[in-house]
């Protein structure tokens, strides 16, 4: 490509600023909107996935409630209570359980270390709880089997608990006071579930049952399944429900007696909702691109019409049709490429700003656009602009100069 042609194009562009702006704007705007859309979609997806990062997505959670149907002579409204036996039975009867844990809440009034006091939720659990809650140990260790067997008074504290009580001091090996009982801190953890999940203290379930509850009741239990699909997990829940119903004497159809949360189902639901959102975003995105294509095509057609007389003059002075078509096309390609790049940069820039200044929320975090898709969209607009310019330009370049000169 000769340099002279580029200079001719550049001078045409710089001397027709409004035309250049109008063509460029529709492209830049289309790409900008597409980037924002794709970025928002990704942000939404990241937010939702972050929600699931808190708990294992292959887990089933079991909570005892009250019966709602009369059964075998029992009146409705009876409270169901689960115990360690239920956990053992479940573990033995369901073959593909990976991790199983109970959870007992301890209501402690005062938790302190030296002169620092605080109020935190206390969960007493089995070691497998770590996998179910996706707890990340940053220091020391989690509750282990030895703690359970020996009724050790050990505690694993959240990083914010550590920050509050120990004020930067290394908590490992130190003793915290829970309503007058000393517990040795053996680990510190973080959790993706957010700040409230890091203001928690974990204790061995056996110790807590003995010290605070005096029984073998559990508030809930939960387990993860391996090699399970949505369907098989639903069958497992059905089996579990029948089993619990026969042991605790409630109607197997009484869903309120024991509440079972199947994360397989929830994950599946949210993911299908998300793919719905994704499809929606693509429809809107494609719509935006089509609007951009129509805009560019329109402007290019008007540009060629507007330039018909100029084309006639150029032909009278000795321009070949090729030189005219390539002039119009290159101008269109230069403008659309440049504008596409501007839209791309502006869109990515805005996403970066959002990333930097908007705190990540539960539903929106880390928006990132699919650059490949954006580049393809830009390419599409460039090609569309070129085609939209090519057809009328070729027509204008092939008519007799006298006709082109006649237009005003």
């Amino acid at each position: 490509m000769d340099w002279d042609k580029w200079q001719e194009i550049l001078s045409t562009i710089s001397k027709n600023k409004l035309r250049t702006f109008l063509t460029g704007f529709s492209v830049a705007w289309g790409i900008f909107m597409l980037i924002i859309l794709l970025g928002s979609g990704q942000g939404l997806k990241n937010g939702v996935e972050e929600q699931f990062a808190d708990d294992a997505t292959n887990s089933i959670w079991v909570y005892p409630r009250q019966t709602s149907i009369a059964y075998q002579g029992y009146k409705p409204g009876r409270r169901i209570e689960l115990t360690n036996t239920d956990i053992t039975r479940t573990q033995n009867s369901i073959s593909n359980i990976d991790n199983i844990t109970g959870r007992v809440r301890v209501n402690a009034k005062n938790i302190s270390y030296k002169n620092n006091y605080g109020s935190y939720s206390i969960r007493s659990v089995h070691p497998a709880h770590q996998q179910l809650e996706n707890t990340l140990i940053t220091e020391g260790r989690y509750i282990n089997q030895m703690d359970l067997e020996n009724f050790r008074k050990t505690a694993v504290i959240g990083s914010l608990v550590s920050k509050d009580l120990f004020k930067g001091e290394d908590p490992i090996g130190k003793y915290i006071d829970i309503d007058g009982i000393e517990f040795k801190v053996v680990g510190v953890f973080e959790d993706k579930g957010g700040e409230s999940e890091m203001r928690i203290i974990y204790l061995p379930i056996t110790t807590a049952q003995r010290l605070f509850k005096g029984g073998d009741k559990v508030n809930q239990f939960m387990f993860t399944l391996h090699n399970a699909t949505l369907e098989s997990s639903q069958k497992t829940v059905e089996k579990l429900r029948t089993q619990l119903a026969s042991v605790h004497h409630f109607d197997p159809k009484d869903k309120r007696a024991v509440w079972v949360r199947n994360q397989f189902e929830n994950y599946q639901k949210v993911m299908s909702l998300f793919s719905g959102i994704n499809i929606f975003i693509w429809i809107v995105g494609i719509g935006t691109i089509i609007a951009g294509i129509v805009g560019v095509s329109n402007i290019m057609m008007i540009v060629v019409k507007e330039r018909t007389k100029e084309i006639g003059i150029r032909k009278a002075l000795g321009a070949t049709p090729f030189s005219i078509v390539s002039l119009v096309l290159l101008e269109s390609v230069v403008i659309t490429s440049l504008a596409g790049y501007i839209g791309l940069a502006a869109g990515v820039g805005l996403l970066e700003l959002i990333n930097k200044f908007m705190p990540p929320s539960d539903f929106f975090r880390n928006p990132q656009a699919n650059i490949t898709a954006a580049l393809m969209a830009t390419g599409l607009l460039i090609v569309a602009g070129a085609i939209a310019g090519f057809i009328p330009a070729r027509k204008a370049a092939s008519v007799q100069p006298v006709e082109a000169l006649r237009t005003e």
Binding site: K15, I313, K315, G318, A319, P321, Q400, P401
Partner: protein
């Protein structure tokens, strides 16, 4: 002497609507020798502009033969047509046909762009031609900033820069006042004196009078082809009669 332009039985019709057609040129025979200064006259609809467009390869003809500088101008490819327009012909139009967003120098240099002359060289040449036309100070001005006479001188500079053999002028003074008209006509005569064949379409008698030869078109044929002042007067009289 070589015939710069030679027309043999040129016919041209325009299609009107779906089935109608308008027979504009009905067999034109015409020879123009190199270096001649010729005017083409005729009432509106006589076919004088159509004839000029065919001479300029701005339009094609239906029948007959057109030889430009000895070469037959028929079934030309677009490239060939562009080549002849660029190298052999120069145009001066009534409405100037300058490119509005290019400055005076760029407008003059444009024909050389299509001859692949380097930018620097063509701009230098353009400045020389602008200087000849007395427009050097206006080189960076846009056409819209120039007067009618300046625009036409600019257009003449543009027509001259490619050193054409023939200059075709379609009502070159039609948009100018009488004083400026005379200046432009003097310029065209001076260029003709340099050896360039000049064909001027005009309806102004005082312009036509200054050419060596008047070709009078009527209803698509050559009615008169005259070169002495007595005959010219007769042509003017018959033209006046036609207008009424």
């Amino acid at each position: 002497m070589l015939h710069m332009i030679k027309l043999e039985n040129i016919h041209k019709s325009y299609r009107i609507g779906k089935s109608g057609s308008l027979h504009v040129l009905k067999g034109i025979d015409l020879n123009v020798r190199e270096g001649e200064l010729v005017s083409i006259m005729g009432s509106s609809g006589s076919g004088k502009s159509t004839l000029l467009n065919i001479l300029g390869i701005l339009d094609n003809y239906d029948k007959g033969a057109y030889y430009l500088n000895g070469k037959l101008m028929a079934n030309l490819s677009e490239r060939k047509a562009a080549f002849y327009r660029n190298h052999t012909l120069g145009f001066v139009f009534q409405s100037f046909n300058l490119i509005s967003f290019k400055n005076a120098m760029e407008n003059v240099a444009l024909p050389l762009y299509y001859q692949k002359v380097s930018r620097r060289k063509r701009n230098k040449l353009a400045m020389e031609y602008l200087d000849k036309m007395g427009l050097k100070e206006w080189a960076t001005h846009l056409p819209s900033e120039l007067s009618g006479g300046q625009k036409q001188r600019l257009a003449i500079a543009r027509a001259l820069i490619s050193k054409p053999k023939v200059i075709l002028a379609d009502e070159p003074t039609g948009a100018l006042d009488s004083k400026t008209s005379q200046e432009v006509m003097d310029l065209l005569k001076e260029i003709n004196a340099g050896g360039i064949t000049m064909i001027v379409v005009t309806h102004e008698h005082d312009i036509a009078e200054q050419t060596n030869r008047i070709i009078h078109l009527k209803d698509g044929i050559v009615e008169n082809d005259v070169n002495d002042s007595e005959q010219k007067k007769k042509v003017f009289e018959s033209l006046i009669a036609e207008e009424i």
